[in-house]
Symmetry: C2
Subunit: 204 residues, 2 copies
DNA sequence: TGACACATACCGACCAGTTGGTATGTTTAT
DNA sequence: ATAAACATACCAACTGGTCGGTATGTGTCA
């Protein structure tokens, strides 16, 4: 039996190129020619698949969700029995995937949203959806952890879920501003400590 | 006696225009012509004051420090007697200046660092210095709060100071991604709760 | 025999940066 | 005191290259 290596279609190669280049250089600094060269496609091919560069931007934001969703859905942090442990395991997982170059672990959606939030609202909206969708995957565990704790909180599960994303995004920015990926880990460490303190039982 | 209204020199007008436009549109999307129009200067005037657009980028990052330093130095959050209260007052101050358009309260340095960290390292470095310099103004109060608490912490004052900036930056990104400034306030609320929990005395 | 997935060649708009000035001080030499 | 020499702060017009986008093919497969 042959190993059927099906070729990756041009559209997907362009989207993967977009993820790589936009994470490294940003949206505006990434030219259509850059994308074509990286994807091994000509300009005609590019505009066959996307009606404009902005159209690609929107598609890239959605592609980002398509890439990351299965990564997190298949990650081992869903295994612990207690909800709080699953939340902490999520943070540990996020910390564990930090390594190597900044562009390899930073968030495309955050990068896009920051850069184009006024000039290209459609792209920003698609990026916002991607972040919100990922945050929403945490809500159930956070809500369960809140319920299991038997405590009262002056925030809701959605707010804390979104906050985890805020801290991650902020950690990436500090890492970029200092040129040191280590700072992204520090941000997660503080976030983990925050979650532990929130749910810590008074006696322990 | 005449009211001597000294005219703002072109160089300063260009720097102020840069802060406004880059915060709104980002660095790459802000053209030299945009800057000239906003500042009321011609292109020749621009390149008299700055040797290149990148040169302006570096100068704008430093200008950002020049603008923000006196703002924070003169703010009322330094007044409380207990160090912890000064730290919390700082966060309350940061929360209070959020309002209106996103471009009016977001951080130029964070925006710059995110966008140009690979393509224009000099600008990113200048932006990083601005963030680090601001964070360092918090270290003394945080250190005092740690000392006054009499507790042991597994992080140092510098780390927590930088983390406050990470959370702020992250809050801005979530706000931009959702198109809602309110999220920046949520991030600060969580950060304030974290600081309170860190320093809360066991008995209270 | 089309519909699809590309490629080649090209265009007009725009953009960073240059050129070659002018007007207004400020310093220096006599 | 004053003129020459220099410095600073701008301006209008231009240039060479780049960018997003288009027009028009060509090969392939159901």
């Amino acid at each position: 039996m042959l190993t059927e290596t099906k070729p990756i279609p041009g559209r997907t190669r362009i989207l993967n190129a977009a993820v790589k280049l936009i994470r490294t250089k940003g949206y505006n600094a990434t030219t259509v020619d850059d994308l074509c060269a990286e994807a091994g496609v000509t300009k005609g091919g590019f505009f066959h698949h996307f009606k404009s560069k902005d159209g690609l931007g929107v598609a890239a934001a959605r592609h980002w969700t398509d890439i990351t969703s299965p990564l997190f859905a298949g990650a081992p942090y869903h295994r612990p029995g207690r909800a709080l442990d699953r939340v902490l395991a999520y943070l540990d997982f996020r910390r564990s995937i930090i390594g190597g170059e900044l562009a390899e672990f930073t968030c495309l959606a955050g990068t896009l949203a920051q850069e184009v939030h006024t000039s290209h609202p459609e792209i920003a909206q698609a990026a916002g959806k991607s972040i919100a969708a990922h945050a929403s995957t945490l809500v159930a565990d956070i809500q369960s952890a809140m319920d299991e704790s038997g405590r009262a909180f002056d925030f809701n599960a959605e707010s804390l879920a979104l906050h985890t994303q805020a801290v991650l995004q902020g950690g990436f920015i500090i890492a970029k501003s200092a040129g040191d990926p280590h700072h992204a880990e520090d941000a997660i460490d503080h976030l983990r400590r925050y979650v532990e303190l929130l749910f810590k039982k008074p006696e322990e």
